[in-house]
Symmetry: C2
Subunit: 220 residues, 2 copies
DNA sequence: CTGTGTGAAATACTTCACAGCA
DNA sequence: TGCTGTGAAGTATTTCACACAG
């Protein structure tokens, strides 16, 4: 049925399961590869099979946000990717600052063209005097003490945090006071923050533990 | 009540919610920091507050695996961490190989002592002739072609995969044929694998998308 | 036919609330 | 009193199954 354009993206916001959102990113990644093979449409069954989900799950997930499909056809890739990007908010650019410019961040900068340019690195900070003045991701590394000033000038709201665990909370308190509302945290600690600030943590040790458990279980 | 020792770790295995397992790793990380402050016991309320969970959730999570607590006291940190490690399988060492030795893996090697030594890097592989012979994580980088031989000699079952997305599936097919049963995948693609092989994917772009969505939602 | 969208049914997971131990 | 362990109740999420569209 595919709904008229104005019917789409109704954003029943309050009630979207969190798990749906995490699948949305996977769908997006998969459809982009599918398109790269020259295919114009994809069905819920095909998309589900690629990711190990049921077709019903795929349809239900999209249904939270409107009607994107065409009965008998499936979903048009270009429409669907645009819709998903709109939902996630990655149809507009996000300005990101790097805080803590060690090896990890340096390595990540080369990685997957930084999410198709939705995320733009506009500044880099470190508190190590030896690093200040060096270049990372095309930006001069600034002293952390100047974060507030630079962030408010550039209107930075999102930060990639990769400082040592021992100082992460104290650094983050300063970031929040400077207006940051989103943090991707690579330090292996839980940050305590006001509810207005969103955090996603990435911890290699945790991922490995989860993998160990999964491997152990599967031998039964 | 704390159950007699032989009552513990009954592992009602089949029915443990997946979400419980992911919290177990968080509990472990938190309790270890708590212990480092010299505290010997922790209550479900205290642990929950640190992570933003309810006390009931914490108790229920542990209850899936037995009785670890002492009414009126809480949980003894050393006992609880040992129990969680036992459940996750990280009380024994895991031999891990690095496949793809680019910047990312090099950076990760310095990170959080590689999970308290449960995970030991025992070999490193790359298909780039320029990298072969170099040293990473104390190991000589070997040609990928020799993976099968080395892996079966050392009995390697777990791999940290960080090769370009375009070759990830083909590389992984070789790894699986060589007996690998657990893969931590840094390539931004979904791997297709037999059900006997476990994968956990880590994709920076996906984490950033999830963060963008969370930030956007919280402004309402 | 193929394939979407969606109520209704089935699961899965979380929170409540309280008995009982130290 | 302080805190665990746990059935029962309440929510959330997934799967089913089918009406309907191209």
């Amino acid at each position: 049925m595919a709904g008229s354009p104005e019917k789409r993206r109704q954003r029943a916001s309050g009630s979207v399961p969190k798990a749906v959102i995490s699948r949305l990113s996977l769908y997006l990644r998969e459809i982009q590869l599918w398109e790269r093979d020259g295919k114009e449409t994809i069905s819920s069954t095909q998309l589900g099979k690629l990711l190990g989900f049921t077709d019903a799950q795929v349809r239900k997930d999209f249904a939270y946000f409107g009607q994107f499909g065409y009965p008998g056809i499936g979903y048009r890739c270009t429409e669907l990717t645009a819709a998903i990007r709109g939902i996630l908010g990655t149809d507009r650019p996000w300005l990101v600052a790097l805080v803590g410019c060690g090896n990890l961040v340096q390595a990540l900068m080369g990685y997957r063209g930084f999410a198709d340019r939705s995320f733009q690195i506009v500044a880099a900070f470190d508190s190590d005097p030896a690093k200040i003045g060096q270049t990372l991701a095309g930006r001069r590394i600034e002293p952390l003490a100047s974060f507030r000033e630079v962030a408010s000038k550039l209107d930075i709201r999102m930060v990639l945090l990769a400082v040592p665990a021992t100082v992460a909370q104290e650094v983050v308190d300063g970031l929040v006071a400077s207006g940051v509302t989103g943090i991707l945290n690579f330090a292996p600690v839980t940050l305590s923050l006001p509810r207005t600030v969103q955090v996603i943590g990435v911890d290699l040790a945790i991922e490995l533990e989860q993998l160990a458990y999964a491997v152990e279980q599967s031998r039964s």
